[in-house]
């Protein structure tokens, strides 16, 4: 055995150890990435799942004409401004007569949400014959009560509620009059300062209008630009300059697009702040590079034989492109557009710049109404001090993520089903 072989044999064990170590690093790296993913999702779901249900308290409520201050049940005006909170307060006082003094009474009244009165109003509007009668109802509880009811026995000690309030809730719980019900307001209401009344519907509609504007603008423009660059552009300095610009724009931080929107679209063109149209334009400029790049890839994937065959039959260049290349490239372009839209849907920073962070309670009715979008709503709620908003934020994140997952799945599906390989 030669000396070299001897040396190699001796070093083998060490080299194999190094090999195993290296491989373990690789596995560790993948594991770290996947662990982060799992942690992120379990954390969000763990925090957010409870927000899909909220606490209701069963109460016997009397529609007392004097308390409500209504003289005529058919008068819409009076029904709208009647004192429903008074009715609820009466019910609470009857339930817990021990509460005395201003402070204790206030504590008692704050068990029920300020929004519960609207439920009574709707009931009375639907059925005026309820006037003067007593009915048993599930009333929406305040968010602090909600947190208390949902938390485990040990955590209840840290609650913000006073001892009186705790004992009242526990006596209600003992009578089985506290229940978790599906949180409908989350999906039907706009934003609110009260966590139990706040919902994402306003933000979802705002996101919808913003995405609509983005799609209408960015898809045609992106496809047209891609067609020009792939099929018509002469090879010259100007075309090179366009390409350099597109590549750079793809890597410009999104917040810069917000500055552009603020200075040019709002400052120079005078469009209003906080509206989906401006948000849509800004997001269009941001997603255009993505759409152009993927559309160009789709056009490139169409084999030259198709073009040559059409050309040979006498089609003009434009006819070749519009009648043959474009239909074949369309699935790929759509996939790119969906991915670009998903990016735009999750984008927050540029929209902060153009004022879509305002506190807006109303659900927007069109792309020119002030509104906010889902990611910005998440940002706003994450900043709110109330404890219930943490769960609400996580729930909104779950909704946003499910939209994104749906869009990306659709893109993958489209690619698998429609894209042709030559």
């Amino acid at each position: 055995m030669s000396k070299t072989t001897e040396q190699v044999r001796k070093s083998l064990a060490k080299r194999y150890r190094a090999e195993r170590r290296f491989k373990a690093f690789g596995v560790g790296a993948i594991g770290f990435g996947l662990l982060a993913l799992v942690l992120l999702f379990t954390d969000i779901i763990g925090k957010g799942h409870s927000a899909f249900f909220e606490t209701y308290v069963k109460m016997e409520v009397t529609f007392d004409q004097d308390t409500l201050d209504i003289s005529d049940v058919r008068d819409e005006e009076q029904l709208n401004f009647a004192n429903y909170d008074g009715v609820i307060r009466n019910a609470l006082r009857e339930e817990f007569p021990s509460a005395s003094g201003r402070q204790e009474k206030r504590e008692l009244y704050s068990l029920i949400s300020t929004g519960a009165g609207y439920e009574l109003r709707d009931l009375l509007k639907d059925d005026p014959s309820l006037m003067g009668k007593s009915i048993t109802l599930w009333l929406l509880a305040d968010d602090d009560v909600d947190v208390y009811v949902k938390s485990a026995q040990d955590d209840r000690l840290e609650s913000r509620l006073s001892d009186n309030q705790k004992s009242w809730i526990e006596s209600l719980e003992a009578q089985d009059r506290v229940e978790l019900q599906w949180n409908q307001s989350l999906f039907t209401h706009g934003d609110s300062r009260e966590p139990e009344l706040a919902g994402i519907w306003g933000a979802v509609t705002g996101s919808f209008f913003t995405m609509l504007v983005t799609l209408i603008l960015s898809f045609p423009i992106g496809v047209a630009a891609a067609i020009y660059l792939e099929e018509f552009a002469p090879k010259n300095k100007f075309t090179d300059f366009i390409e350099v610009n597109i590549n750079n724009l793809a890597a410009v931080p999104s917040i810069i697009f917000g500055l552009l929107g603020l200075a040019v679209i709002i400052g120079l063109f005078g469009l209003p702040r906080s509206v989906p149209v401006v948000g849509g334009i800004v997001l269009t400029l941001m997603t255009l590079p993505t759409i152009i790049i993927s559309s160009r890839a789709a056009i490139k994937a169409v084999p030259p034989s198709i073009r040559e065959a059409a050309m040979g039959l006498g089609a003009s260049k434009m006819q070749v492109v519009l009648h043959h290349v474009l239909p074949l490239a369309l699935p790929g372009m759509l996939t790119g557009a969906i991915i670009g839209m998903a990016q735009a849907l999750g984008e927050t920073a540029p929209l902060l710049m153009i004022g879509m962070v305002a506190f807006i309670v109303d659900v927007p009715g069109g792309p020119l109404d002030p509104s906010t979008v889902l990611p910005v709503q998440i940002y706003l709620w994450a900043d709110s001090p109330e404890q219930s908003f943490v769960a609400l934020t996580s729930a909104a994140i779950m909704v946003l993520l499910s939209f994104l997952i749906a869009m990306n799945t659709l893109a993958v599906f489209l690619r698998k089903r429609l894209e042709r390989r030559w």
Partner: protein, 462 residues
């Protein structure tokens, strides 16, 4: 008529023009013996008529809408008696606001001076006149265009070439939007920055060590002058980005190597898309995760070993940002590693090297330029990232390199300076644009260098 309705009407008119053009081309072809005697297909004659209807009308509408507001305002302000003319620009703005509030009914005319009420009335009547005029003019232009396009149709006309020319021009205009966007970005940050540097010397901004942008609102207020030294922001940005890269580069690189060189096809098919999910999660979600989950955990760990950790530590933001850019690094690295020719691997393995030796001594050096490019791109991502730092990093500008302290970044300051109430001319607002300019230049340079490296060394082995 409302602009939206006018546009709808225009669409109907364009469809009508198309139909008329179509009819006429057939009518012209019939005596000649069918459409094969026309120069172009009827579709092109119809399209040409529709284009003649649409483009002049849209151009007129666009130009009109761009200028009518300013014109009307000037006319209203001009109509005010000389005594009540505003003294300067901001007073004029205030007055205009008041006038338009009265005009829209938000303010009762009784609560303002009679001149303003009269001006509001004039504004309303001018606006009415304007919408009427715009409707009439646009409809007339569209009709004239259609008539012109319709009359001109003849069997010899080269309609197809004309239509194609218009389409091609439209395509080209779409492509130039990329240039316009870049120019728009440059102009918007540049102009405001120049105004900012008129108020604050550029050297103070670039080399100053103290950042506190709160300026006094009134001259007699006891507030700080407002210091605009951006060095603490640059250091904070670099600190957080460095932490992020320290996480993302090793993890991203090693996972790319493992996936490309070791992983069985089934593991790769699962792990690669799973990692890419990390890139699809919106940044605001990462911000929430960093602020509410990671930061408290880091703080607790720090406390348990006796370290004083700020609740908005750079470490939390940097760690989470690092997780965010893992897939970015790994997919770029994966591309360049798989692009290394198989012959190099075979040669190295054939000489008796182990796999890890092949990777370390052959593949890695070969892929290095591409990997470097990828890292630079990741760095530019980290520097420009906004939401994670806005939610998880601090607001106070501390000049420190301690990752357990709270630092602030360029993007955080842009957001805080520009959200909420603001006047457009104060140094505070303008400072945001100066920061934006720095951010734009930095990321642009990083991208250009990265693309240059990737391009220059990519095809070395082919």
């Amino acid at each position: 008529m409302q602009t939206g309705n006018l546009l709808l009407l225009l669409v109907v008119m364009i469809a009508g023009a198309y139909y008329m053009g179509h009819r006429r081309s057939f009518a012209l072809a019939r005596p000649l013996g069918g459409i094969r005697h026309l120069h172009s297909l009827p579709f092109y004659y119809a399209m040409r008529t529709a284009i003649w209807c649409a483009i002049p009308a849209l151009v007129v509408l666009g130009v009109w809408l761009a200028f009518d507001d300013t014109l009307i305002r000037n006319m209203v302000m001009g109509s005010l008696p000389a005594a009540s003319q505003p003294v300067d620009g901001s007073a004029a703005n205030l007055m205009l606001n008041q006038i338009s509030n009265v005009a829209s009914g938000a303010l009762s005319p009784a609560s303002v001076s009679p001149e303003i009420a009269a001006a509001a009335e004039k504004l309303n009547s001018l606006r009415q006149l304007n919408t009427m005029a715009i409707t009439v003019v646009v409809i007339v232009v569209a009709m004239l265009g259609t008539a012109w396009g319709w009359v001109k149709i003849s069997p010899q006309m080269r309609a197809r070439q004309q239509v194609e020319k218009v389409l091609q021009t439209l395509f080209m205009l779409s492509a130039t939007i990329a240039i316009l966007t870049t120019v728009g970005i440059l102009m918007s940050v540049l102009f405001e920055s120049i105004r900012f540097f008129g108020k604050v010397p550029a050297t103070d901004f670039l080399f100053g060590l103290h950042w506190s942008p709160q300026t006094a609102l009134r001259a007699d207020q006891v507030a700080s002058e407002g210091a605009f030294g951006a060095i603490p922001l640059f250091v904070g940005t670099l600190l957080i980005s460095a932490i992020a890269l320290l996480v993302a580069v090793p993890v991203g690189l090693m996972s790319a190597i493992y996936l490309a060189e070791y992983a069985p096809a089934r593991v790769r098919a699962f792990a690669k898309p799973a990692l890419e999910v990390l890139a699809g999660v919106p940044t605001v979600v990462y911000g929430f995760f960093a602020a509410l989950t990671v930061a408290p955990v880091i703080r607790q760990i720090g406390e348990s070993i006796g370290l004083d950790v700020a609740s908005e530590s750079a470490l939390a933001a940097g760690l989470v940002m690092g997780v965010m850019i893992i897939p970015f690094v790994s997919s770029l690295a994966d591309d360049v590693i798989t692009a290394v020719p198989q012959a190099l691997r075979d040669a190295s393995l054939g000489l008796g090297a182990t796999r890890s030796e092949t990777i370390k001594k052959v593949i890695f050096p070969a892929a290095l330029p591409g990997i470097m490019g990828g890292i630079l791109l990741a760095a530019s991502r980290a520097i420009g990232e906004t939401m994670i730092v806005v939610m998880a990093a601090g607001l106070a500008a501390n000049l420190t390199a301690n990752p357990l302290d709270a630092v602030t970044t360029v993007t955080v300051q842009i957001v805080t300076l520009l959200t909420g109430d603001q006047e457009f001319d104060s140094a505070k607002t303008l400072a945001a644009f100066a920061l934006g300019l720095m951010l734009f230049i930095t990321t642009l340079l990083l991208n250009v260098i990265a693309l240059h490296i990737v391009k220059k060394y990519r095809e070395q082995y082919d």
